[in-house]
């Protein structure tokens, strides 16, 4: 891939289930992220979709090292950041920032928005106090807020405005990569569109790269260049937006796409919804072989025995299904 920014290779994250005295040694493990590999090119947006519990947020948080991966490598600019510590980790965090889902919970209610936006600059000792305040004002203006409101507190702003503050904070250090973890899920439709447009404009202006995590397939389609679909900790399909939405190969992606109600009554009523039975299984005890097989409409005997790996089904389009036809065969 031309000009690679981030390469995630066989990333695994296990959590320990339960918090008993011996659970650390004997307890069950939840494998939240299992053998996840993908790449993001500079200036690109990779959408990461999946249902709750699919491991998409855990993946994002491993990359920014809010949680430490159990194994695997995360190469950013050729450097493995999965094992960074101390000063090197702090330096790395200048390159990668995150925008959270809930703007109410991710802004300190006792800090003014100026302090919130300045904080990254203070932590990394960039500029004098005056320069920091000037930078904060400029950032607020960049995200469409009035810089005169710099001394106000988060509760004085609406949900959409708070999300803009979160974005301004993420931009403060001029990062290369921003992880957007469900940044518009908590917002009303009309406000959601404002924030999506802002994210797109900022990407053009600052040359940003996004990992865009969301469960709303329409939003992901709008903002992404490529999309990865996760199910129960594994990536089941990854490809360009056109390939994934136009020609989904994995049975899970297909039913996911058929399940979104389309805002067009005629089209919606003529569509065939492919209903998946039941709920996703518990990640404490995932099914053997293909993790999707317990709900898959096309399941076969082989699916229980063999773990499917991502294989190329078309140029740049990968699918982890034993029944998918590999490209070129």
């Amino acid at each position: 891939m031309a000009d690679l920014l981030l390469k995630v290779d066989h990333l695994n994250k296990d959590f320990l289930a339960g918090n008993g005295l011996f659970s650390g040694r004997f307890g069950a493990k939840v494998s939240a992220v299992k053998d996840v590999s993908f790449e993001i090119a500079r200036g690109e947006t990779l959408g990461l979709v999946g249902e709750s519990g699919s491991g998409k947020s855990t993946t994002g948080r491993c990359i920014i090292r809010l949680i430490n991966p159990t194994s695997g490598t995360i190469l950013m600019n050729g450097q493995d950041v999965a094992r960074l510590r101390g000063r090197a980790l702090k330096h790395f965090r200048k390159e990668v920032q995150i925008v959270f889902q809930d703007p109410q919970a991710s802004l300190n209610p006792r800090m003014t928005i100026g302090e919130i936006v300045c904080e990254p600059l203070i932590i990394h000792r960039i500029g004098t106090r005056g320069e920091q305040i000037a930078a904060a004002k400029e950032l607020l203006e960049t995200v469409g807020l009035n810089p005169e409101h710099i001394n106000r507190y988060p509760h004085e702003f609406s949900g959409g405005q708070r999300q803009r503050i979160g974005i301004a904070r993420a931009l403060a250090l001029r990062p290369k990569l921003i992880i957007c973890d469900e940044p518009v899920s908590a917002l009303d439709v009309s406000i959601q569109a404002q924030v999506l447009n802002l994210l797109k404009n900022l990407q053009d202006d600052f040359g940003l790269t996004y990992l865009f995590i969301a469960h709303d397939l329409g939003v992901v389609q709008h903002i992404s260049d490529r999309v990865a679909v996760m199910y129960l900790g594994v990536i089941v399909e990854i490809g360009s937006v056109q390939a994934l939405y136009g020609n989904p190969q994995h049975p899970y992606s297909r039913s996911l796409l058929s399940a979104i109600p389309v805002p067009d009554p005629k089209e919606q009523k003529s569509r065939h919804r492919q209903l998946l039975p039941g709920d996703p299984p518990s990640p404490i005890d995932p099914p053997s072989g293909c993790r999707f097989r317990t709900r898959c409409p096309k399941v076969q005997a082989i699916c229980a025995a063999q773990v499917p790996e991502l294989q190329e089904v078309a140029p740049g389009h990968f699918c982890a299904c034993l029944l998918a036809k590999p490209y070129g065969l």
């Binding site: 569109a193 209903l275 039941g278």
Partner: protein, 368 residues
Amino acid sequence: MSASHDAPLLEVRDLKMYFHTQDGVVKAVDGVSYTLEAGETLGVVGESGSGKSVTVMTIMGLTPMPPGKIHGGDVRFKGQSMLEMTNKQLRDLRGNHIAMIFQDPLSSLNPVQRVGKQVGEGLVLHKGYRKKQAFHRAVELLDMVGIPNAAQRARDYPHQFSGGMRQRAMIAMALACDPEILIADEPTTALDVTIQAQILELMQEMQRLHGTAIIMITHDLGVVADMADYIMVMYAGKPVEYGTTDQIFYNPLHPYTWGLMRSIPKRTLDDDQPLTPIMGNPPSLIDLPEGCAFAPRCPYVAERCSREDPAMVAVEGIHASACFFSDSLDFLQNAPIYDGQRAEEAAAEGAGGRAEEAAAEGAGGHDG
């Protein structure tokens, strides 16, 4: 219940519900009207704070009063005013004739009671079942809404259920007494899409089987496109547009409805156009602007809009809009999908069944 037979199943007329708070009067519901007949689905669409939930809470008599106070209007169930009912009469109605499903199934189920007991509770209260009979029936209901191994799961507590299963249990509970009206307040918002699809399918099937009327409150235009026969769009406590689903989607009249439609990402694959959001934020319901509440955010605002408050006016058949310019064809050229052909198609197809009157008027309406 004694009721006249020609009265609609549910009729809400000019309902006004204000909250009197320290900061001032919040006009949470300000003049909402609709009627609902058996087997119909009404979709209520709007953003947070538009009053869509408070409307149905008021209908159910579940708003706290004070601070709430009804400032006018009426709610009639089969011709009988619900606002004049005693608490006992209301209790007899709720859960029995009108049932409700809430957005968050975890906080609306009792955590210390077995699911089966809660599902059967209405039967004990309203239908004179013994506890054992009710539990037995609850197992059947849980089985009907697709809970696997229902006899055993009925003995579980709500925390042992997944989100989708809790919502199914809520639906089983709501349907226990075979209600005539089911009010669903964002029933799938907290659920994943594949689970949402299961729940919507289930509600449609239950409607087919029992002829239940449904009021579906949601902010998701996809969900109403799927479920609703009629749609009401609300903004700042007031309805701004009402019509059949086809009218709202293919021939929307109100600039706020247009804004909502333009805000959702399009599903075409080569779409690189930026979205057209609605500028600004929804107003505070305490000090609403003079005139049309949407005027400060409306891209087509005229001088008149900030002086006078537009009333809901029927433009063609039942299709009504609260905008001064909804009857101007020039103005309607601004609509996102002003698509005459699509509207005519919809009108032609609707010629049978429920949409008949709408279709007849639709044919005479917009030929320009």
